[in-house]
Each structure stands twice: as structure tokens, then as C-alpha cells.
Symmetry: C2
Subunit: 325 residues, 2 copies
């Protein structure tokens, strides 16, 4: 079997607008610490007018994983919707410059490229207020044999279900994947997202996904379990490979009867927790698409996540595996 590339990501293409804030600001905005809230353009404008100077950088959860995967040396492609505006240019530039194959041209009409106002608290946690803009225009017609091709693995993020045609296009992408022998992986995005789309996620995980990457909270939200022990019991009954991240408690891989526990690496100082899960997914899938053992996949994931929390910014840098052992 010849694959078009090792990994294709389908997700919301977003430019991050980063600003340091204090708790008072979050209270004023009415945003729960660590949450991701969807806002409309008017709310985005109002929020931005309250923010002090910021910096802009490409973001998006699975988009970060795809960029990271490319930086690890994997071949990858990306499918998401931007507008042909300056933020769209930034997003596509940053992907293309890493060698990621961009599958959709920027839209020439419609809402502007998505932006996420990332409010970084004193403790390094991020609270996101996201205007999805052009992302919401991603539609069924964008998903075809020509745009999906035949990747070894397809990675979808839960946030795609926030798009009107998202549930349908995810199903269509999974169907094309199955025909090509492509493995379907899903990132659950965040526990609020799981709650928004509980039924659809459960259906997709049980019927379409081969791999699920998620943190402990997301898994508990999805299966209505209250701790990791309960969760593992449920996960082991499904024919799905689960990689569950647990912050400082490490991660656990569950595939039927097989359970692999991976300890976290101790770090002296956490600079910025964002992108830890995305980096874990990049590393885990890099191992997986290179036919490594589950234990090795977990080690790659942990290594990438450990690196990303010790830097500012959510995307892992080139040459990361140079010192991997």
C-alpha cells in the first residue's frame, strides 16, 4: 500500500492572538479559567478592544499537531478553511514552510480567517475566546477523494463538530479513509467540546475511530466515568486504541486488554502548558505511523509534550528528536 503521506489533519485553522492577563480580566470577560469559548465577530471585536498589545501566531489544536508532526520529520497534509486575508496567509505560510501539503485553497469570499484570543494567566494557563469565522465554511463539498487522498492516518479534531456541516463531513472523511485503508484518529479537543457534542462523539468513537487521543477529563466526560480506573474498564471493551494523557500523572494507552502506562517526565519549570496535548498527539502518531510499539509511541508523545510545556508557544520545533533516546 502506498500512502499519499503519513498523516492528514482536518481541523479548524486558527491564528492565535496571545496576551498576558490577570484574574480580574478573566472575571470581567466572564471566561472560566482554562476554557475555550466560541464567540461571534462582534464579541471578538469587543474583547480585542479590551486587550492590551498582543502577538499573533498560527494555532489550532490539530493544526499544532500537524505542524509538530512535520517538524519531527513526518510527511503530512492539512485540510481546513481560511479566507484569503492576512491571517489566512500567515496560517498557510507557516504550514507550507514546514512542508505540510495544504489541501484547500483559501476562500475568496465569506467571513475572515478564524482567530483565537488566547488569554494567558499568571500561572501559565490559557483561556481561549475563539471566533471561528472562515472555519465554519468548511463543508461536505470540501471532502473528496481528491482532497483526502490516501494518508496512512487521518486525524480529526472534536472542534470540527462545531462547524454546521462538521458532523457530516467527518463521517464522509472517515468513509473515504476506510476505503483507502487509512486509520482514523480523533482528538477529543476539550471537555466542554465533548459536552457540546456528546452523542455525536460517542457514535464516532464507537463506529468510525481507530485511535482516540484525549486527556483524562475528556475521556471521563465522554464515557460518564469519574476516574481513570473506571475509564480504563470502559475503554478496554472497545475496539479502539486510546491514548489518554494525565498531565503530571503521565499517560496511559489502552487497546483492548493491553494497557501501557507511561510516567511523565519531571520538569523544573513549566513555561506554558498550551499545546501539551497537541504535541503528545504529534509524537504518539509519529511513533504509530512509523510502526513503533505502543510503549515507544507513548514515549515519543511524552517527550514532545515535555518539550512544549518548557517553551512559549504551542508548536514543537524542528529537530526535536535529535536528542531523543
Amino acid at each position: 500500500m502506498t500512502y499519499s503521506e503519513q498523516l492528514l489533519g482536518i481541523s479548524n485553522a486558527i491564528v492565535d492572538v496571545l496576551e498576558h492577563v490577570d484574574q480580574t480580566f478573566l472575571t470581567t470577560v466572564g471566561a472560566p479559567l482554562g476554557s475555550m469559548t466560541l464567540i461571534d465577530e462582534e464579541q471578538a471585536r469587543s474583547l480585542y478592544s479590551k486587550m492590551t498589545p498582543a502577538i499573533e501566531t498560527s494555532g489550532g489544536s490539530v493544526a499544532n499537531s500537524i505542524a509538530g508532526f512535520a517538524n519531527l520529520g513526518g510527511s503530512s497534509a492539512y485540510l481546513g478553511k481560511v479566507r484569503n486575508d492576512q491571517f489566512g496567509d500567515i496560517f498557510n505560510h507557516d504550514m507550507a514552510s514546514l512542508g505540510v501539503d495544504i489541501r484547500l485553497p483559501p476562500a475568496s469570499t465569506g467571513p475572515s480567517t478564524a482567530r483565537s484570543h488566547v488569554l494567558i494567566s499568571e500561572d501559565g494557563q490559557r483561556t481561549m475566546q475563539t471566533y471561528l469565522g472562515a472555519c465554519l465554511e468548511l463543508c461536505l463539498a470540501d471532502i473528496s477523494e481528491a482532497t483526502i487522498k490516501s494518508p496512512k492516518t487521518l486525524l480529526l479534531e472534536g472542534y470540527v463538530w462545531d462547524i454546521a456541516e462538521g458532523p457530516a463531513l467527518a463521517k464522509k472523511a472517515a468513509e473515504i479513509a476506510r476505503q483507502n485503508g487509512t486509520t482514523v484518529a480523533m482528538s477529543l479537543s476539550d471537555s466542554f467540546c465533548v459536552e457540546r457534542h456528546h452523542e455525536a462523539f460517542e457514535d464516532f468513537v464507537r463506529n468510525d475511530a481507530n485511535i482516540v487521543v484525549a486527556d483524562e477529563d475528556e475521556i471521563n466526560a465522554l464515557f460518564s466515568t469519574s476516574n481513570i480506573k473506571e475509564a480504563i474498564e470502559v475503554l478496554s471493551t472497545l475496539d479502539v486504541l486510546f491514548a489518554v494523557t494525565r498531565s503530571e500523572k503521565g499517560s496511559v494507552i489502552v487497546h483492548g486488554n493491553v494497557t501501557v502506562e507511561q510516567a511523565a517526565t519531571k520538569v523544573e519549570e513549566i513555561v506554558d502548558t498550551t499545546g501539551a496535548g497537541d504535541a503528545y498527539a504529534a509524537g504518539f502518531l509519529y511513533g504509530w505511523t512509523n510502526d513503533r510499539t505502543l510503549s515507544e509511541c507513548a514515549k515519543y508523545g511524552t517527550y514532545c509534550a515535555t518539550k512544549v510545556i518548557q517553551q512559549l508557544g504551542a508548536r514543537i520545533e524542528k529537530g526535536l528528536l535529535d536528542n531523543f533516546s
Copy 2:
């Protein structure tokens, strides 16, 4: 005399696109280390396609000084041209959020907002490739009693002379300033810029400027002197207040017979030299507009420059003077 504000800046409104590069990249691009080269939109596109992922942030030399001045607690205003696009939004947002009064509305037609591709070398030096875009549309008609008002000090940057109507609009701004009792200050921008506009700069410095802020290289380029001693001899014959920065050799203030030398502050590690001159100008003019002695002005300038070279990014942050002594 009631002033509309302490400081009004007229300059090129630019968004910086920052990327770390090695010497090979600079050689390929053909850019002399530390230079600022003007490029057209096609060249900007070509350069950007060669760059790896970058981050975007508001920039521009005198724009940095105005933002810094506001963060020091001074009242300030800004006059420069952006387009009503996403980079223009970023630029104006960052200024307005600091309380800077924006004097011109964004253009609704014409070239896009300017961007400077800032190539940061391993030693922290910056090489800039700048597409001026909307900046070049700044014109004589934008300069009036209504847009200049009556600031205590007007600060123009040398880069304004790169605009077609730049020399004329600088003269017009200086004329309005004189009528209002506004002090005219000029930043010489960089020594390549001095060489591009040698005659016009000499005329403006001798006939319009009351204060000139520049580094040693720029002063030597302007007066065809070869060292600081020769330069001071020339400067002391003019009825202009000169603040000359000399990197690790500190700075020297020359006003006729009066010469004030200010030592540099030793720093353990220089993170990023960009914005050192802009920060010095902010501090120096903050002292000056608050009627401090020349020695105190130099101390403010040095304090700000010292801070900015120990951080990533060219703009000094709020509360900087909290620990000034």
C-alpha cells in the same frame, strides 16, 4: 500653553513578522547583517515563502517609541497610515490599547498595511526587509492643524523620507509645529536611511529640528565625521539638542557648549538588541517633556534601552519606571 498631548509621533506604521534565521539565510536573501532594506510586494511574497513559521507583532521605529512613551505614563498621539486590513487592525489596536490617540483613520483602498520581515540572527541582531505598502500613501493632505493639533513635542522618523510626499509632509508638519510652539524632534532611523536622504536630512536637521535622536553611525553618516570626537565638534556648532546613543559606550548629549556623557548599564545577557534606540528615544523624550535636566533625560533613555535589550520584542512594557531610581 496647553498642549494636546506631550508627544505626537509621525512615522511608518508597520507590523513586524519575526523569524530566527542563520547566516546562510541572510546570504541567500542578499541582506547585509543589521540592515533595513525596502522591498516591494512581490519581493515580500518571495521572501515570506522562504521563511519558516514566524510570529507577528506591531513594530515600526518611532511607533515603538510612542508605545513606549505611553507605557512610561506619558500622553501621546500617533499619525501614520495603515490599511483597513488585519495587520492594520493589529497596529491600531496595540496603539489604542495603550491610550495613544490615533490621528488618521485606516485607508479603505490601496496597498495593504506595511510589514517588516525581521530576520533575527543567532547573535540577536536583526536584519529587516520591509514592504512599506500603505505607509507610502501618507500624504501632504493628511497633515493639517486638525491632525497635528498642538503636542508639546513632535517626533518624526527618518524613514518618513522614504515616502513620496514624505519630505514635503515633514516640512509641513514642522511648520504647523512651529506655529503652535511645538518642539520638533527627529530620529535619524538608520545609517542607510541617512545615506538615502543625506541632503534632505541635513536641511531638516539644520533648519527644522530642535532635537535629534540618533546613534553614532547615523550622526557620522550625516555629518561625514569619522568618530564621536569629530562629531561632537560639529554638533556643538548647531542650535539643536542631540542625543547620540553609542551601544555599550553609553550615550552623549550635546547642546551647544553643553555636553553630558551617560555611561551604559552593564547587562548580563543581551536577548535582543532591537528597539534599543527607540526605547532610548522614548525615555529621553519622557524626561524632556517632563522638564527634567539633560542628565536625567539621558538616564531615563538609558534605563529604557537597558530594559528592552533584555527582553524579546522592541516595545517597552507598562510599569517600567516603577523601579526607576
